[in-house]
Amino acid sequence: MSLVLHWWTVVAVVAGAFFFLAGTVGLLRFPDSFTRLHALTKADNLGLGLVVLGLLPQVDNVSAALKLVCIWALVLLSGATASQLIARSLRRDGSRS
């Protein structure tokens, strides 16, 4: 059982790292701010989510696991809010000019 959990951690964290890598490449290579925002939020939401899911079997107690999930939820909330605000201000600037 513990071997399965270890492999789950390895697979999930590697997958999360892949999304961070893909998000970073997108941030550097995508042509405009909207697509760059898209790349960035994918890294935050999916990458961090997979890393958290992967680390869950490795923690000792429920409260540490809850803290990890809370961190993910808070990053989801702040990432979604910030990217919405940036996108909205971009669109306003774009329509003005």
Binding site: S78, L85, R88
Partner: protein
């Protein structure tokens, strides 16, 4: 494996530091500085200085970063003019020489430190039981070096007065910052309704565990100040006019309570800021509770800046 990680951190930090210095735009330099602060947080974690890491993340990266973003935004209109008047080669050479000399002197100081470095850590460890506080950082900050913490709080108060003194005459006593007009049903207002309950719990938790675990009033107050700022930025509440008596009293309440307890210590325990035997923990708690609202207000108001509008608007 850990060494590779640490080496990577060092390379990244040095690279970011250089990038922050050579960046031509103030805004780019600020972004570099914030990332630098976050990486520095990781360094402190690696050095097992969790308290310092928390402070660096909250104040060094977060709050200072927000202050600098505001400053960069205000400097933007003058930036082109400032860049146009480049200093002459003589000035630049002198500046480079002085910088190199300071760096060399600092490096020399670090290299000639005796090994092992002189430390008071064993004495702190031997005497920490008297304070009944389990977190050695808190014991040092509020018992063995309480004077430093008191002066820190007072310095922050002076800094806020310095910010206020930039107010134009007609706005003196009025509300700091601009009137925020976010959409009442927009994303920002939504976040400003959802996040503060969580943030207040997290801030108070970090404040409360500071006695026995990493955490404390500075980190907790920064989180509370951030929540307050979020609510004001979303237009759900307005900044208080700085002429309000309750505001001024809260701003001095923390340092006053601290000084009061210090004077009591001078009379009952023989030295300023000494705690009578057996009362160390309760008195430390009183000081922390008194400083918390003061620090929250100071940090929040410092980010809002000088008063810019009258009381009505």
């Amino acid at each position: 494996m850990n060494d590779v990680l640490n080496l990577g951190l060092v390379v990244l930090i040095l690279g970011l530091a250089v990038w922050t210095i050579v960046a031509r735009e103030a805004y780019a330099a600020v972004v570099g500085f914030i990332a630098y602060g976050l990486l520095l947080t990781l360094v402190w974690v690696q050095l097992h200085g969790i308290d310092v890491a928390l402070t660096e993340a909250a104040i060094g990266g977060g709050l200072t970063g927000a202050l600098l973003i505001g400053a960069a935004a205000r400097l933007r209109s003058t930036e082109a003019a400032a860049r146009a008047e480049r200093p002459g080669p003589a000035t630049r050479w002198v500046a480079a020489l002085v910088s190199v000399a300071v760096t060399a002197a600092l490096g020399l100081c670090v290299l000639v430190l005796p090994v092992p470095a002189p430390t008071l850590a064993p004495e702190v460890a031997a005497n920490i039981a008297v304070t009944e506080v389990l977190n050695p950082i808190t014991a040092v900050l509020l018992a063995f070096r309480a004077m430093d913490t008191l002066l820190e709080a007072i310095v922050l108060l002076f800094a806020l007065i310095g910010v206020w003194s930039l107010a134009p005459d007609h706005a003196w006593g009025g509300r700091p910052g601009l009137l925020q007009q976010a959409e009442p049903d927009g994303m920002l207002a939504y976040a400003a309704r959802v996040l503060p309950p969580i943030g207040i719990v997290a801030g108070m938790y970090i404040f409360w565990v500071g006695a026995d675990h990493p955490g404390g009033k500075f980190q907790g107050a920064t989180i509370l100040a951030a929540m307050w700022l979020l609510v004001m930025m979303a237009g759900l509440a307005d900044a208080p006019p700085i002429r309000r008596a309750w505001l001024r009293w809260l701003l001095v309440a923390g340092p006053l309570a601290f000084i009061g307890i210090g004077v009591v210590g001078a009379m009952s325990a023989g030295a300023f800021l000494a705690y009578p035997h057996g009362f160390a923990k309760p008195l430390i708690l009183v000081i922390e509770f008194a400083l918390m609202p003061t620090l929250t207000l100071i940090l929040g108001l410092m980010l809002l800046g000088a008063p810019r509008r009258g009381e009505a608007s």
